[in-house]
């Protein structure tokens, strides 16, 4: 059993420890962490599910939308939830994975006035909006308010194919997941596979940040 209070940090031993990190240890680390997710659409709903499956303790999610039939091609909702608010439907679905999850939901449209209160104190913030102008608003607000809090953004994932273009770029504590290119449109719909990949890239970045913060080093991409 890895001693989480005295993590091994010597070079060379790190990867060995990576391989033998037990899932129970990851759950222990995540159980005390709080993640904020701005948006409960294709990115937010799937990212939330992945984090809860891995043992995240506390989640704060905000969205103002209702579940629609058109969401079912990529979002973590079901046909019998059409018409429900997304945050309540997501709460129901996440509690089926982990009834112990501490979840705070906000059925509202996020803006520069309410973001400071809703997401204050989170360990990591995930940007999971649909519209680029909303992404811009959230990123600018969060970078100004909490420059030391990791921010994980999704940008560019419409259509299908070319999954190798989907990457994670890291600029200090700002992480950009996606291809920064493929925009949604009538001929380029967002679909479950690529949206799912990016939402799970975001969840994976969150895990990496939180586990590393505990002193466990993870093999870095592009090493």
């Amino acid at each position: 059993m890895l001693n989480l209070e005295n993590p091994i940090l010597k070079n060379g031993e790190l990867e060995l420890y990576l391989i033998i990190v037990k899932f129970s240890e990851i759950q222990t680390i995540l159980s005390s962490k709080t993640v904020g997710i701005a948006g409960a659409g294709g990115l937010g709903s799937n990212c939330a599910a992945a984090l809860v499956r891995c043992g995240l303790g506390r989640l704060i999610i905000a969205d103002f939308d209702l579940v629609e039939e058109g969401n079912l091609n990529r979002q973590f909702y079901f046909r019998d939830q059409i018409g429900h608010t997304k945050v309540e439907a997501l709460r129901d679905n996440l509690q089926r994975i982990n009834p112990e999850l501490k979840l705070t939901i906000h059925n509202l449209q996020l803006n520069t006035h309410n973001i400071p209160k809703i997401f204050a104190g989170v360990d990591v913030l995930v940007e999971a909006f649909d519209q680029a102008d909303q992404k811009e608003m959230l990123i600018e607000t969060a970078l100004n308010l909490w420059p030391e809090t990791p921010l994980v953004v999704g940008s560019g994932m419409a259509g299908f194919g070319n999954t190798l273009a989907l990457v994670v770029k890291k600029y200090d504590k700002l992480y950009i997941c996606g291809d920064e290119k493929e925009e949604i449109g009538p001929d380029n719909p967002p679909l479950a596979p690529r949206v799912g990949i990016v939402s799970h890239m975001q969840a994976d970045v969150v895990l990496e940040i939180l586990i590393k913060a505990y002193g466990l080093r993870i093999r870095l991409r592009n090493k």
Binding site: G39, G41, G42, L43, G44, A128, F129, D130, Q131, A132, D133, K135, E136, I139, E140, L143, N144, P147, V153, G154, S155, G156, M157, A158, K169, K170, Y171, D172, L174, I176, G178, D179, E180, K181, E182, E183, I184, P190, V195, V198
Partner: protein, 67 residues
Amino acid sequence: MIIELNNRREELPQVNMTVSEILKFKSFTFPRIIVRLNGRLIKKPAYPDTIVMHGDILNVIHLISGG
């Protein structure tokens, strides 16, 4: 001059260019972008007046709708 642009070394044709000039030179004309200079957020109205110097670290992030 040489700067670090999006984690890569970038050689620019002149010294002390503004953010606007660099965005134009690199054809970063996408409507929604986030610009950070040496870790500090630069808002759109400041692009024409913000000077980037040799050795600076510039991030230009394209925000694409979809999610």
